[in-house]
């Protein structure tokens, strides 16, 4: 598991391209920064449970030529939004937009939190000014892997991982943001890594935020099907781009006593697999 360096770097040319992609923010059209200031929204789960994913994301961004900032942050407000508490969701959306106001881009290692910021922040505000602000914010916000590939035009990483892996498509990233080919494209450039597809990689893992606790028994049935598909793939390492789903699947895999490691895709792309896998004890690293 060697170190990683990103190969494609934003030359002046890629910088120009960067602003012709669909989601590139209009507000930076006039001033293309040579070294974009990227606010890393770590997400509360990464902040609390798995800081190594935050560092892997920072490393990938840094090596792709970004200046990485981590403004003080808490949560994007999705738990409130999905629980029907719009007032709290709005307050938190405003807090996030304020905290990241000095950034050219906002990037999160999660399709779900990015979905909240990109798709749902704009729905939260009826007031024209705030709605415009939310839309502008959404336009410069990206999920980590798709930011690397779609915006920075990164085509390969220089990481090494010896072995087979399988990849789960987390729902929000897949269906709200269209993230499917991007992680696969970068994983294909990791030396020694072989991607084996599991059946139904695009079917929900049963996490669903508070759903997993509120309807634990149903969630359990869904995640049990998922881990069966993971096992069947034969890959000893499961990857995904969302820590919520990963903790759910890892929690089931360890409960079932399966010999499968679970990691965030950024850890492998950044060549940072020295922390134990999710839910594993220190010595069990494989």
């Amino acid at each position: 598991m060697a170190d990683a360096t990103i190969v494609a770097l934003p030359s002046n040319e890629t910088q120009a391209n960067l602003h012709t992609t669909r989601k590139a923010p209009e507000i930076t059209l006039t001033a293309a920064p040579a070294r974009p200031r990227v606010g890393l929204f770590a997400t509360c789960l990464v902040d609390l449970f798995r800081p190594s994913v935050g560092f892997a994301a920072a490393k990938l961004l840094d090596e792709a030529g970004c200046e990485v900032l981590v403004p003080p942050q808490t949560c994007c407000g999705q738990p409130a939004f999905n629980s029907g508490d719009r007032v709290t969701a709005r307050d938190l959306a405003l807090q996030v937009m304020d905290a990241f106001s000095g950034c050219d881009y906002i990037v999160a290692p999660s399709g779900s939190c990015t979905g909240q910021m990109v798709k749902h922040f704009p729905e939260l505000f009826d007031e024209p000014k705030l709605a415009m602000r939310a839309r502008a914010f959404a336009a410069k916000t990206f999920e980590l892997v798709s930011f690397l590939t779609d915006v920075l035009k990164v085509t390969s990483v220089e990481a090494t991982y010896e072995g087979r892996v399988t990849y789960h498509d987390s729902c929000s990233g897949l269906r709200e943001l269209g993230i499917q080919s991007q992680p696969r494209a970068l994983l294909a450039t990791v030396k020694g890594l072989e991607l084996v597809e599991m059946n139904e990689s695009d079917v929900c893992c049963g996490f669903g935020g508070t759903f997993a606790a509120k309807y634990g028994e149903i969630s359990d049935t869904i995640v049990t099907k998922k881990t069966a598909n993971v096992s069947e793939s034969g890959a000893p390492l499961l990857l995904a781009g969302d820590l919520g789903c990963l903790m759910n699947m890892a929690g089931k895999i360890t409960r079932q006593g399966k010999e499968i490691d679970v990691r965030h895709v950024a850890e492998v792309l950044a060549g940072m697999c020295d922390e134990p896998p999710i839910g594993a004890r220190k010595e069990t690293r494989r």
Binding site: P51, S52, D91, C171, G206, A213
Partner: protein
């Protein structure tokens, strides 16, 4: 007369379903067959994406002008010699239909598949009035034998295995040879056909649902794969169509658009086997057909959805794709939802029709994976609408107290980054220390809903933000 909902007991229903081995076996078929067939049908039709958009726009247009199209429809039914009855509630609809049956001295009534008749509890009303109601759709016939309700809107008996059906047929069809072979599905079908044939001939009234009503011509349309609908509506002397008000579309042309997306989304067929149009009673020159033609249009709470955030739900053309693709439906089947409409469409529609006090579990029991919305032929944003129900519950303080309390505490910290940083560092360091040996927790007092079924991975230690700032400081030194 509305079917009594068990939706408030959703969790118990789901628990039972999860431990029902026959049901789990039957559900295995839903998960793969329907999905695969739809997928290949969609791939064969490059313009499917565009058709979905047109279908959505068409239904939206109808909903904006619903009164106009309903009036036009009524006028044209009358012009063709039929009669339209408007029913505001289930009770009114049942009463109207029972009265029509009585006025013709009916004893036996045959029925084609109709979800709205389930919604209003029509069979019970007909039987309470001393008449016999006979379901003629194979799936409906089977569940009628079992005293059950449909578990899927297009495949009512999808929760049953072939062996269960065989058992029911042997139990009920005692006039047939006990040693007959019923091991193949086609043998079951043939037997049902034989039994039903006599019922068709004996029926005084035939009741069908409608997939669409055409305003321009006063026509009602049903699509089926068995042809039972044709016999139901053409053999008896009275034909009653029962439909909910949002089924109306302006023209025959519009129907052909919706038909192109309906069967593909539902069963993966390009077209259903039978598409049957009926306009008024039999004309002089017609070789057969009913002497009397009635249409009962049911509102039952739908007009109250117009102009609200739930209006989008009225676009639904009842294809069933949302439930065919739903991981929750796959796990628990349709009966656990506790009322007529299961799956994602039921999770939105049921609270609208029976009230969110009773139907509140349904919009909550979703992971918001979004697969339903991604396949819905009329692009109903189902997760968004479920979220709107959660908002209404939250506003009205119907959200469970524990959840509200948890949300409040969490929001308090999330809105105070300073406090959050302090508290989260302390909590995560403590948890990391507690979980240091195993790297996970097999049980945690406040996380039982989680740890009953799976481990909770332990945090790595200090928070990301704290570690990041420490490193930044060190780097500056």
């Amino acid at each position: 007369m509305t079917l009594h909902p068990t939706t408030p007991d959703f969790k118990d229903n789901a628990h039972r379903a999860l431990h029902d081995p026959e049901l789990q076996k039957a559900l295995g078929h839903v998960q793969h067959g329907f999905i695969y067939k739809r997928q290949s049908a969609v791939e064969r039709l490059p313009e499917f994406k565009t058709l979905r958009e047109s279908a959505r726009d068409l239904k939206d247009h109808v909903l904006k002008n619903l009164d106009l199209y309903l009036e036009t429809y009524e006028r044209n039914v009358a012009a063709a010699g039929g009669q339209v009855h408007f029913a505001r509630t289930s009770a009114e609809a049942c009463e109207t239909i029972v009265n029509i049956c009585k006025s013709h001295g009916a004893k036996s009534v045959t029925k084609g598949k109709s979800m709205v008749s389930e919604e209003i509890g029509l069979n019970a009303a007909i039987e309470a009035a001393g008449m016999q109601a006979v379901e003629t759709d194979l799936g409906e016939y089977i569940i009628q034998l079992r005293g059950e309700t449909p578990s899927h809107i297009i495949a009512p008996a999808v929760h049953l295995t072939k062996e269960q059906v065989e058992g029911d047929f042997r139990r009920v069809h005692t006039h047939l040879d006990g040693a007959r072979d019923l091991s193949e599905p086609v043998q079951l079908l043939t037997e049902a056909r034989g039994v039903l044939r006599e019922r068709f001939l004996a029926a005084d009234v035939g009741i069908t649902g409608a997939n669409f009503l055409i305003a321009e011509t006063g026509t009602s349309i049903i699509v089926t794969n068995e042809g039972n609908g044709d016999l139901t509506q053409s053999l008896p002397k009275v034909h009653i169509v029962i439909a909910s008000i949002e089924k109306v579309v302006p023209t025959l042309e519009d129907v052909s658009l919706l038909l192109r997306v309906l069967a593909r989304s539902a069963t993966g067929q390009d077209m259903s086997v039978y598409t049957t149009l009926s306009t008024g009673p039999r004309r002089e020159t017609d070789p057969d057909g009913p002497e009397h033609y009635h249409v009962v249009l049911v509102d039952n709470g739908r007009s109250a959805m117009l102009g609200t955030e739930f209006e989008d739900m009225l676009r639904c053309i009842r294809c069933g794709a949302c439930m065919n693709h739903c991981p929750v439906y796959h796990a628990i089947g349709g009966h656990a939802y506790g009322w007529v409409y299961p799956g994602p469409m039921g999770a939105v529609l049921t609270p609208s029709l029976i009230g969110v006090e009773k139907g509140g579990h349904l919009p909550n029991a979703s992971t918001f994976c979004g697969r339903c919305e991604s396949v819905c032929p009329v692009k109903i944003p189902l997760p968004k609408l479920m979220r709107h129900w959660r908002e209404r519950e939250f506003e009205r303080h119907l959200t469970p107290a524990v959840q509200r309390f948890g949300l409040k505490i969490w929001a308090f910290f999330a809105k105070n980054p300073g406090l959050y940083s302090f508290a989260s560092r302390a909590a995560m360091s403590a948890l990391a220390w507690l979980g240091r040996d195993k790297g996970r927790f097999a049980s945690l007092p406040l996380a039982k809903g989680w740890t009953d079924y799976r481990d909770l991975p332990a945090p790595q230690g200090d928070t990301f933000q704290a570690q990041w700032r420490k490193r930044q400081k060190e780097a500056r030194r």
